[in-house]
């Protein structure tokens, strides 16, 4: 009798361990190309800036090629890079069909409702991706709202005013396994993510896919992973210098700290409970509709058939949904000023710029009213 119990116990324990391992591994440990087994040193690095032949003995291309068989025209470059830093990132992530295109227009077919992060721009991009419509690669401007001490980062962590905005200021190039989109800097706790058909409310980001394997090189395969339609942001309150309801907000605050925070933080102000009279729009710990009267309206938000992304734990009632940075802005940018998402509550279609309601004409005032009108009825 005891033997059977012991055997059963061991079996149960084994199953539990296996299940735990499976659960853990379906979260933020796989599914990103820049981590682990997918990332190959020679994709980006060259030891001597010389390649008379490829790693298979064949020809060497001037633009990214599989197997590391390529070398940029400009070099040698610091950190043994095959091209200067931003150019190197763009060599895969701009104008290519095998990797997500993150700069200006999308070479690939648009993912559902557009790229969640939208599009970066550059000085050379030109309309409709002008430099005032999002993050500008190479810009030496001081980030708006820059005050890293507020989130316990060193004052000089951001080197963009000297070297220009680089991809690496936001993304860790060698991957950061638990971090959504390999976001950094490493001094901040990573925004976590979860890839599954069922949400894990404990993670910051839910990518609503049953599974995902990185490195396919096929837009049809990677598009859903980056699609606005499939990405959701859970609400998990906390504080790192400033309050957050999702660690994505803390990440943004690495550069834009003065624009981030919740009630009581000096950056956004607010008095009372629930708070009101904010000095800046809160990005954390303020529930839509918490304060009745002439403030935000949960019923308005819930009634929308095309919603902006709130930070929430309840995807049915949307109770205690808080706005965050990504509620209103595309992380990279888009074709709107400040990368804003001009999404009407009943848009006939949704793309990276938002979406217009029936009969609407696209202009900035209409777009702005559409965005604010997601939650606010005043003047709408």
């Amino acid at each position: 009798m005891k033997t059977r119990m012991i055997v059963s116990f061991i079996g149960l324990a084994a199953v539990t361990v296996l299940a735990t391992v499976l659960l853990l591994t379906s979260g933020g440990r796989t599914g990103e190309y820049h981590v682990g087994g997918q990332l190959l040193c020679f994709d980006c690095h060259t030891m001597h800036f010389s390649m008379q032949h490829g790693f298979d003995g064949g020809a060497v291309a001037g633009t990214p090629a599989p197997g590391g068989n390529w070398l940029g025209a400009s070099g040698p470059n610091h950190y043994l890079l095959k091209m200067p830093a931003n150019d190197l990132c763009k060599s895969c992530h701009d104008g290519q069909t095998f990797a997500p295109d993150v700069v200006a227009a999308n070479t690939n077919a648009s993912p559902a409702n557009g790229r969640e992060a939208g599009a970066l721009n550059e000085q050379a991009s030109g309309a409709p991706y002008d430099t005032w419509k999002g993050h500008t690669l190479g810009s030496t401007a001081k980030p708006p709202g820059y005050d890293p001490a507020k989130i316990n980062l060193g004052a000089t962590w951001y080197t963009g005013e000297t070297v220009g905005l680089e991809c690496l200021h936001c993304h860790t190039q060698h991957g950061r396994a638990p971090a959504y989109r390999n976001l950094g800097p490493r001094a901040l706790t990573a925004p976590t993510y979860h890839i599954a058909a069922v949400n894990d409310l404990n993670s910051d980001v839910w990518i609503n896919l049953a599974s995902y394997t990185a490195g396919s090189g096929v837009a049809g395969t990677f598009n859903p992973y980056y699609a606005t339609a499939n990405i959701f942001f859970n609400r998990n309150d906390g504080a790192q210098g400033l309050k957050y309801s999702n660690r994505i907000g803390t990440f943004c605050a690495a550069c834009h700290a003065n624009f981030h925070g919740g009630p009581g933080d000096a950056t956004v102000g607010g008095t009372g409970t629930p708070a009101e009279e904010f000095i800046r729009h809160p990005t954390a710990q303020v529930s839509i509709g918490a304060l009745s009267g002439g403030h935000s309206s949960l019923s308005r938000y819930v009634a929308a058939t095309t919603k902006v992304k709130g930070l929430t734990k309840n995807y049915t009632t949307y109770a205690e949904t808080s706005p965050g940075c990504i509620t209103c802005h595309k992380a990279h940018g888009n074709q709107n000023p400040f990368g804003l998402i001009f999404l009407n509550r009943f848009a006939t279609s949704v793309n990276e710029e938002g979406g217009l309601g029936q009969g609407q004409v696209a202009d900035v005032p209409t777009g702005y009213r559409n965005l604010c009108g997601q939650c606010h009825g005043q003047g709408n």
Binding site: F42, M47, H48, F49, S50, G54, F55, D56, G57, H78
Partner: protein, 362 residues
């Protein structure tokens, strides 16, 4: 007293003393390599008239075959420049390819040890020793990082008649070495520690595990200087236009081959802890008393020990079966072959090699 016997004896005594002195002097750079001293016999390689109707003892002469002891052989191609019995590379290969009495340096070998220098290839070499996997004998090309065309011959790198350098390497700066010293108490004012050189013991003399590299000069490496003789752009000084960067923040333009110690910078750079944790490690330059190839998985080196990568850390000098003669050795490799870890492709192989010292993305 009759001085004559003393006077007669004196020169003999002097000669005896000289002989004894020569015998006592360390053999480090004077003997122990076949191509110097008494081991090397002129007729092994040279023929005055490119004619041998009989051998040096009156016996037969092997014509067109391989090297024969006692000089009783002649190549079937000649006469050749420099009175050689065969054209230069062929002559070298007559001993150094397919023989069991001398290290086989071309392609595969049957002498059953992991060659420190790996294997050359030759124009027309087939897989797995294609031309793009190391140094190619007879090939005329501008060496990578180089300036002018050369035709690769053994003599480009090695001194036929011997030199004071490790493996008879040429170069303005000798690559000095010792033989037979205990490693922990070895002489560190030379570039190379050679476990031994015993005539005929190929594995003991030439294996991967028979060699260690000291760091005689913390600001340069004689071995890298030697390689730079052809691969001009690939070696230099930190901060110059070849290597670039600086010792505090890195940012190198090309991978350094001297001066830069594993783990010295910390942060997102190389990691001495990672190197220490390797069960199988690549060669580095080291002046530490502890053997850097020992203590599998439990090395105790620190950044202060100053372990420094150089050319031989990543490349087989001759080549191997990997592109660029790279050593794709995983830290947890079950075995060590001339390729590092056997049967891995370039993607995994590069991560293995870089991962010896670098954790990024690994």
């Amino acid at each position: 007293m009759n001085r004559r016997p003393f006077l007669l004896a004196f020169p003999s005594l002097v000669l005896l003393g000289v002989v004894m002195l020569v015998g006592i002097l360390p053999w480090s750079a004077r003997t122990g390599e076949y191509h110097t001293g008494e081991a090397l016999v002129c007729f092994d390689c040279h023929t005055m008239h490119f004619s041998m109707q009989h051998g040096w003892a009156g016996g037969p002469v092997v014509i067109g075959g391989q090297f024969q002891n006692g000089g009783d052989w002649l190549g079937n191609t000649g006469p050749n420049a420099n009175l050689l019995k065969l054209p230069e590379n062929q002559l070298c290969l007559s001993c150094h390819d397919g023989q069991n009495f001398a290290p086989d340096v071309l392609g595969a070998h049957g002498n059953n040890y992991v060659r420190q220098a790996g294997a050359l290839n030759q124009i027309g070499s087939a897989a797995p020793y294609e031309n793009w996997k190391g140094h190619s004998l007879d090939m005329k090309a501008i060496p990578p990082g180089g300036v002018s065309d050369i035709t690769l011959t053994c003599g480009q790198c090695h001194a036929f008649h011997g030199s004071t350098s490790y493996r008879n390497l040429k170069g303005a700066i000798p690559i000095t070495y010792t033989k037979g010293e205990p490693y922990a108490s070895r002489t560190k004012t030379v570039e190379v520690w050679l476990k031994q050189w015993v005539k005929g013991d190929l594995a003991g003399n030439y294996a991967y595990d028979s060699v260690r590299f000291n760091e005689r000069n913390p600001n340069n490496g004689a071995y890298a200087d030697f390689c730079q003789g052809c691969h001009v752009a690939f070696h230099g000084t930190v901060g110059d236009n070849k290597i670039g960067g600086d010792l505090t923040t890195g940012g190198f333009l090309r991978h350094p081959n001297a001066q830069v110690n594993i783990g010295a910078m910390g942060g997102g750079h190389s990691s001495i802890a990672r190197y220490n944790a390797g069960m199988k490690r690549v060669h580095v330059m080291s002046n530490a008393n502890a053997d850097y190839l020992a203590n599998p998985g439990a090395g105790t080196f620190t950044a202060v020990d100053g372990l420094t990568p150089s050319c031989f850390t990543c490349h087989k000098s001759h080549g191997n079966q990997n592109p660029f003669g790279l050593i794709f050795l995983a830290r947890n490799s079950a075995t060590v072959t001339e390729e590092g870890t056997p049967n891995v492709g370039p993607g995994e192989g590069m991560r293995n090699l870089c991962g010896q010292c670098h954790g990024q993305g690994n």
